[in-house]
């Protein structure tokens, strides 16, 4: 898109009364492949190419998008925004954009669109072999492969004109174990802000095995008991607890409205002293990283909680206006069809002093959640729920037996105070996070932690 048109589009919105006008142009090529039981069944690739325009007047934001990139269509979208704003027009609306570009935090070695699909197929085959060869109880295996290359241009009426490229690659392995008429599943889904070189950073076959191991472990497990008990949550995807129970409630989306249990709590103790946590989009090549957010603000490492004290929220531009605070580089969106809003990137609890084995040995009786599944939260009430993908009972400080079908429920502000031991084994894992501005890649993470008491949903 020509700079002239970008400047015109912004000027139309300003003239119509916008205090702030923004344009987000996106071009994305993507590949997805699906293999079932060793046979490649689906290959899809394509292009999305469109523009999202936003005008903000006071605390009001108007958004429009189109993938008709002709001058008429883009200016028409700007005009519709100008009309909807219903504010006094601005006079001095000469737009003079200065091009700038942030340094790249995440070097890419092998661009996915330059790699032959046969090589991607080979990776899927390896993962499949790993899963199938693990056990005779493995009855079905599904492998999904995804990559995309997203090029964005962001311009706004503050004079910003910048661009960025995001490359992401992911493999997902879903294994089913069967015993009689029962089935159980295992899953792993490694991903990164990397190109095809990602598959040189770990053993793909082992990923397949890992998904199979979980399915087999669970098909041979009893159902988890029901009731209140201490819960030890292992590292990596265990961090989904913090993501859901706390992270979402720190987003400006709910804080600005006062709809979060953590609104007006900056500087206050909201978690046990052993808990410190960050949201960090600057980790090179991480799944949730980016050089700039989707509003063009450089990303940063945001210390959210330090020794239990709330230090920062996650703020986008509009949230910043509504809260009278600065953006924390947290404005994100799925693609040009979504207005950006405050979101997490790579969010995790910082390591403490305990060895994970120490935490287990110090706990006479508990549920040990070795792998977590997904979960969700209602930021207004703090109520959350999570599924445990791979669980064990701990008896007398030892891992006693595997259990399946457990769910953990509680309230976010309560669990943060009940975290009473934090391990030293911090690790992250990849997921997709869904909220108002769509589904975006995000890392969760934590060291092994112990929660003194949580309600476990199981069978009686």
């Amino acid at each position: 898109m020509k700079r002239k048109l970008i400047e015109k589009a912004l000027a139309v919105m300003k003239k119509g009364g916008a205090d702030f006008a923004e344009l987000f142009l996106e071009k994305r090529t993507s590949n997805s492949m699906e293999m079932n039981n060793g046979k490649l069944e689906q290959v899809n690739s394509g292009l999305i190419h469109g523009v999202g325009l936003r005008g903000i007047a006071g605390k009001k934001a108007i958004y429009a998008y189109t993938n008709d990139l002709s001058e008429d269509a883009v200016l028409n979208a700007s005009k519709r925004i100008a009309q909807a704003i219903e504010a006094d027009g601005k006079d001095d609306v000469e737009m003079n954009l200065t091009k700038s570009k942030m340094g790249n935090l995440s070097p890419i070695l092998l661009l996915p669109d330059k790699i032959k699909k046969e090589e991607k197929y080979h990776v899927m085959k390896l993962a499949n072999e790993g899963a199938v060869s693990y056990s005779k109880q493995i009855s079905e295996v599904r492998i999904n492969y995804f990559d995309y290359r997203q090029n964005i241009v962001i311009a706004n009426s503050d004079g910003l004109l910048t661009e960025d490229e995001r490359i992401r690659t992911r493999l997902m392995v879903f294994a089913v174990a069967t015993k009689g008429s029962e089935k159980e599943t295992g899953f792993v889904g490694p991903g990164a802000g990397m190109g095809f070189e990602f598959f040189n950073t770990f053993d793909v076959k082992e990923s397949g095995k890992e998904a199979a191991r979980i399915a087999v472990k669970m098909i041979n497990a009893e159902f988890a008991p029901a009731g209140k008990m201490p819960v030890i949550i292992s590292n990596k995807f265990g961090g989904v607890i913090f993501h859901e129970a706390c992270g979402h409630a720190l987003e400006a989306t709910s804080v600005a409205k006062g709809a979060s249990v953590f609104a007006d709590k900056l500087g206050q103790q909201i978690a046990n002293e052993c808990v410190s946590a960050v949201d960090d989009a600057t980790i090179p090549n991480a799944w949730g990283s980016a050089n700039i957010d989707d509003e063009g603000t450089p990303t940063q490492r945001n210390l959210l909680i330090e020794n239990g004290i709330l230090k920062s929220y996650l703020i986008d531009k509009l949230g910043g206006i509504r809260m009278n605070m600065q953006s924390t580089g947290s404005g994100r969106r799925q693609n040009y069809t979504f207005a950006p809003t405050s979101r997490m990137s790579n969010t995790f609890i910082l390591p403490g002093n305990f060895l994970p084995e120490e935490i287990i040995a110090n706990t006479p009786k508990a549920l040990y959640a070795k792998k977590m599944g997904g979960g969700s939260v209602n930021p207004s009430t703090g109520e959350f729920n999570f599924s445990v993908r791979e669980g064990y009972l701990i008896e007398n400080g030892k891992i006693a037996k595997p259990v399946r079908g457990a769910t953990l429920i509680g309230k976010g502000f309560e669990i943060l105070n009940k975290i009473d031991m934090v391990g030293n084994d911090l690790a992250r894992d990849e997921g997709m996070c869904g909220s108002l501005s769509g589904s975006i890649p995000a890392d969760v993470g934590q060291p092994t932690i112990r929660v003194s008491e949580l309600l476990v949903g199981g069978r009686n």
Binding site: N36, G46, L47, I62, K117, E184, T381, N385
Partner: protein, 451 residues
């Protein structure tokens, strides 16, 4: 280029490359959305976009490629890409495209009645909804979500067998979530109304329902773990039935991802249950005359008095099973490939009112909301363990609200234990298809509680 012109260029390119069979699926979407918070516009979206997916078939293998740019270059690229993509396929399944030309009958396109309302009026209505909810009760301190939304999709499909059709569907509505507080406990209540007809959106009624759903749950407590008889509200039944929708997909069945393999003709649940997939349900925004592969949609019983009568099929799965396609291959977008979905699930209602179900149960739980379907429910195993809230029922009446409990069980076992079906069938909030479900009384489910 306009889409029909683009299609001609794409088809010409495809023939030049010697592709036997191919199709183009095009979807354009128009969307309006606004939300209100504290009387002010919180968000406002007015948008349109569209794209096309090309599917190439050769030797029974299919490859896909999509684009949002209708240029000569892209008309070339999607053909080359789709061809390259299909070369890799090594599945033994045979892909086919539709061969039967048809006219769409007994179908009226969505008449865009929501587009006749001015954006100003839509904003005003949304403000009214927030205001009315807040006026219902002092304990409602905020309406964090208060949305108006309308949209429509225009679908255009053409393949190399001259099957060609287009249709328009859509609608609009409102939804809101209110937060009530008693000082130390917050409760959140949410409800929605969507229809093809703006007259069906009753702001007063919606406000009352949202308000009641939040206030009703205040002062909730947990209960003792144990097995309880349970009445599931219509929306909870809709949520949990999402598992069944995945289990009846012929694709999942054929690949071994469903417990319903080899169960056609067998009794899989209580004989009180009859579930039908309908191409047209009064006011449903999901009504649809044909699927995304050129098969007409049709009404069909899926479960007939407890007996499984059919899976939902695409052209490919139907060919593999040696049955007729059922018109259930849908694309949620041109960006994706077909997946199996119903049009409108209609769970036949019974003759007992909700209060009647409570009376029949006498003592037990009324579950009004479950959380965690996407993580705590497993469509392969049928097992679920979900966060839940609702009411304790004593002497056949609501005794007090309950919270912080989990509800666990297995879908098929649960449907076998259905004792009574309510007469209160309503639309449950499901994003990808219509879901019309009644409340049901189940003899026993596992509950974990904090008490």
């Amino acid at each position: 280029m306009k889409i029909r012109e683009f299609k001609k260029v794409v088809f010409k390119n495809a023939r030049k490359k010697g592709i036997d069979n191919f199709e183009l699926y095009h979807m354009s979407s128009h969307e309006f959305e606004c939300s209100i918070n504290k009387g002010e516009i919180q968000s406002y979206k007015d948008a349109e976009n569209g794209g096309a997916s090309f599917k190439a078939l050769k030797n029974g293998k299919a490859g896909y490629s999509f684009t949002e740019d209708y240029t000569e270059d892209e008309a070339e690229r999607i053909v080359t890409d789709a061809l390259e993509n299909l070369e890799l396929i090594d599945s033994d399944d045979v892909e086919v495209i539709g061969t039967t030309k048809f006219e769409i009958e007994n179908w009226k396109d969505y008449d865009m009645r929501f587009d006749e309302i001015s954006p100003k009026q839509k904003i005003e209505d949304t403000k009214q909804l927030e205001k009315k909810i807040l006026e219902k009760d002092q304990r409602i301190v905020m309406v964090p979500y208060c949305f108006y939304n309308d949209m429509y999709n225009e679908i255009y499909f053409a393949n190399s067998n001259d099957v060609e059709y287009s249709y328009k569907n859509g609608g609009g509505g409102m939804y809101a979530g209110a937060m009530a507080t008693n000082g130390n406990q917050n409760k959140f209540g949410v409800d929605f109304m969507f229809s093809t007809d703006p007259k069906q959106i009753d702001i007063e009624k919606l406000a009352s329902s949202v308000a009641e759903k939040s206030i009703g749950l205040l002062d909730a407590k947990s209960i003792k773990s144990g097995k309880y008889p349970v009445v599931l509200s219509y929306n909870t039944v809709g949520d949990i039935l999402g598992l069944l929708v995945q289990m009846i997909s012929a694709e999942n069945v054929q690949k071994g991802f469903s417990l319903l393999k080899d169960k056609i003709g067998e009794k899989i649940c209580s004989e009180k249950i009859t579930i039908t997939d309908r191409r047209f349900y009064q006011d449903s925004i999901f009504n649809c005359p044909a699927d995304s592969q050129g098969t007409l949609t049709k009404d069909k019983e899926i479960i007939s008095e407890g007996v499984l009568t059919t899976y939902l099929h695409t052209l490919k799965t139907a060919l593999k099973d040696g049955v007729s396609p059922t018109g259930n291959a849908f694309r949620s977008s041109y960006k994706g490939v077909e997946s199996i979905l119903p049009v409108n699930i209609d769970f036949a209602g019974g003759h007992v009112s909700l209060d009647g179900l409570f009376e029949q149960m006498d003592s037990g739980l009324y579950i009004t909301n479950v959380q965690g379907m996407h993580s705590g429910a497993n469509p392969v195993s049928g097992e679920f363990s979900l966060g839940a809230e609702g009411y304790k029922i004593e002497d056949g009446k609501k005794a007090y609200p309950i919270e912080q409990i989990t509800l666990s069980g297995n879908l098929l076992k649960m449907l076998q234990n259905v004792k009574l079906i309510g007469s209160d069938k309503q639309m449950a909030m499901v994003m990808s298809h219509g879901m019309y479900t009644p409340s049901i009384l189940i003899s026993e489910l596992d509950i974990a509680g904090n008490d």
